[in-house]
């Protein structure tokens, strides 16, 4: 009995570390495993057998194009976010002297606002008789209201709006840590501002840029809310199609197969853009 107690007390740290690990296993790894197994199983009356039919079924042009569309959108969105976010983060971190706290507040706030509220706020601008159309008509730029809502353009604008802060913040954090004297040193040695940016700031903030890019890429890729609210249900994206499979069509196996197909393509795309970005940033010397 004493021995048992001794062993138990020696396992004290095991006892307190396991809940978190079990929690994550049960609710993350086991579900993923389930999906993975389900995507290869053909369920019959008596038991199940291995099959590739689910993959074959979705391996057609319609599904590929949905994934490609999402990938394209994710890549486009992440790139635009990166290009727009860099100057902003650079300005906030390196040039801004006063009001930094306010700038930081307004940079953090979007993360804390319900994402649906973000999306919803665009209704006022994009609707048929929303503010953009009204303004343009008042100015006489257009005669007929534009169909802004329920379109790919709306989806893209709002995704950009929603995920831009996800790009600015990591960049800001890393640029904030960047020693400003390095920039001074570079200018001092005769470099122009743009030379300094491309040869010093960019290589040194590379990791922040990369993490921001991937974060936005992954988030955009799996986005469900924005296309379903602003896309008018006309085009399918990976997020909407997965939910369609699980909620509407209720075909778990095919849904799982599609999930893994798109995840696979996502990983390939991420790897591809990693190579591309590395070449762009590091290769420029």
């Amino acid at each position: 009995m004493n021995k048992v107690r001794k062993i138990f007390s020696s396992q004290h740290s095991f006892f307190i570390t396991t809940p978190a690990i079990i929690w994550q296993s049960l609710f993350l790894w086991v579900p993923l495993l389930f999906l993975f197994v389900a995507s290869f199983l053909h369920i019959q009356e008596h038991g199940a057998r291995f099959t590739l039919t689910h993959y074959l079924h979705i391996f057609n042009w319609e599904h590929i194009i949905v994934v490609m569309r999402s990938l394209g959108l994710a890549f486009f969105n992440a790139s635009v976010c990166l290009i727009i976010a860099y100057p902003v983060a650079y300005f906030l971190a390196c040039n801004l002297k006063r009001g930094k706290n306010i700038a930081l507040f307004f940079l953090t706030l979007p993360f804390w606002i319900n994402f649906l509220v973000h999306v919803y706020s665009w209704f006022f601008l994009l609707e048929h008789n929303g503010l953009i159309n009204r303004l343009l008509m008042q100015l006489g730029v257009i005669k007929q209201p534009l169909h802004l809502m329920n379109s790919l353009a709306a989806v893209m604008i709002v995704m950009f709006h929603g995920y831009l802060p996800f790009m600015i913040l990591p960049l800001y954090t890393i640029l904030q840590k960047l020693d400003k004297r390095l920039i001074e040193a570079s200018l001092d040695l005769g470099a122009t501002r743009s030379y300094t940016f491309f040869n010093l700031v960019l290589p040194l903030s590379y990791s922040g840029a990369l993490s921001g890019f991937f974060l936005v890429f992954v988030l955009t890729f799996g986005e469900f809310v924005i296309p379903s609210l602003l896309g008018g249900g006309k085009t399918l994206f990976v997020g909407t199609l997965i939910s369609e499979y699980f909620l509407a069509i209720r075909n778990t196996a095919q849904g799982a197969a599609f999930t893994f197909l798109s995840a696979g393509m996502l990983i390939m795309a991420l790897f591809g853009s990693y190579l591309l970005l590395t070449r762009l940033i590091k290769g420029k010397k």
Binding site: R181, A185, L187, L189, P203
Partner: protein, 363 residues
């Protein structure tokens, strides 16, 4: 090799005035040191010259050319930063070659120049190392090499040795002097360490807390003939007495309250030395002779009681309380091997000095 001059410069930060109506000329081809306590604005002056900051008012000249608003990257002035500011993503070679790459020089020219300069700073063995692999002293040399490879008119050094240990610092100081002689470039060396400044400078300027220059002179003049009590206190240490001047025929005396009168040198170049004026008298601790016996050959003498004895190795510091309760410091060279009188706590001692060793200060 051009001189730099600042004319009527005004600069403030966040409403706090740093420099006002500031004038300074840094002679061409000299090793010039700017010495002052932290917060005296000496770094601001450096940053104004380098172009990191712009003046609120006034102008800056490099030779006859005004550079007040010239962008940083178009000034032929380079800086060695306090913490070196080496580019962490580049190796030694690329750090040094940075400015040459900007000028798009041919590859072989760059290589030749970089290797030559790295030899000058004794780094030829570390050309392709990463910055992180170098020691502090080596990093310092890279920063130096990077700044001079482009042959600037002026080299600014902002407390370049602050991060190094004492031994290394001394060696680097000597190397800096050699380098300056070799290149003939104007060096502007900013520091709060008087020893460094005294060691390297051909000329130096002392700044006070208000961003004003107290004195510009050679290191020797600064030390031996400080213009103000601030300079006398800041460069080395000193004993200051307040008193008024009395002329007794050919000799001048200074009358110190409660202590009597003492003979001083007549100093015709100092306009404030006239009968009846109140002045300060500065005597450096090492110029005082401490003894228990009466000694001949000294013009002046004070008496007091020993309250502290601090042994420094090469010298001993005594704190003496005079009869008017003022504390005076005295350095005495140790020479243990020669028989010496023993001075102990509470001993009454005589302090002697030659009248040539005392300096009169107006403020």
């Amino acid at each position: 090799m051009k001189e730099i001059s600042l004319k009527n410069v005004k600069k403030s930060y966040h409403g706090e005035l740093i420099l006002e109506d500031f004038n300074l000329t840094i002679p061409a081809g000299k090793f010039f040191a700017l010495l002052g306590p932290s917060g005296s604005g000496k770094t601001t002056i450096l940053r104004l010259i380098a172009g990191f900051e712009t003046v609120d008012k006034g102008s800056i000249y490099l030779g006859n050319q005004e550079i007040t608003y010239t962008p940083i990257n178009q000034r032929r002035i380079n800086t060695v930063f306090q913490n070196y500011a080496l580019f962490p993503h580049l190796n030694v070679f690329d750090n040094v070659a940075y400015s040459l790459n900007i000028r798009r020089l041919p590859k072989d020219v760059i290589e030749e120049k970089v290797i030559k300069i790295l030899k000058t700073v004794h780094l030829e063995k570390h050309i392709y190392k990463n910055i992180q692999q170098l020691s502090g002293g080596q990093q310092q040399r890279v920063a130096l090499a990077r700044a001079i490879v482009n042959e600037p008119e002026v080299l600014l050094l902002d407390e370049p040795l602050a991060a190094l240990d004492v031994k290394l610092r001394e060696r680097m100081l000597v190397e800096l002097i050699d380098l300056q002689e070799q290149l003939g470039t104007t060096f502007v060396y900013v520091t709060h360490d008087q020893l460094e400044a005294l060691t390297v400078a051909d000329r130096m300027a002392i700044m006070n807390y208000d961003g004003e220059i107290e004195q510009i002179a050679s290191p020797k003049e600064i030390y031996e003939y400080p213009a103000t009590s601030f300079v006398a206190n800041f460069v080395g240490s000193t004993n200051i007495f307040k008193g008024s001047i009395v002329a007794e025929g050919a000799t001048h005396l200074i009358v110190l309250k409660d202590l009597g009168s003492f003979i001083i040198m007549e100093e015709p170049n100092k306009p404030f030395v006239y009968n009846g004026n109140t002045v300060l008298l500065s005597v450096r601790p090492e110029k005082l002779l401490i003894t228990k016996k009466k000694t001949e050959g000294f013009s002046n003498c004070l008496e007091g009681q020993v309250i502290d004895i601090i042994y420094h190795g090469q010298s001993t510091l005594y704190n003496i309380r005079l009869d008017n309760t003022q504390i005076v410091q005295v350095f005495d060279q140790n020479d243990q091997h020669v028989p010496q009188e023993i001075i102990a706590y509470d001993d009454r001692v005589q302090l002697y000095w030659q009248k040539e060793n005392a300096v009169l200060l107006e403020k």
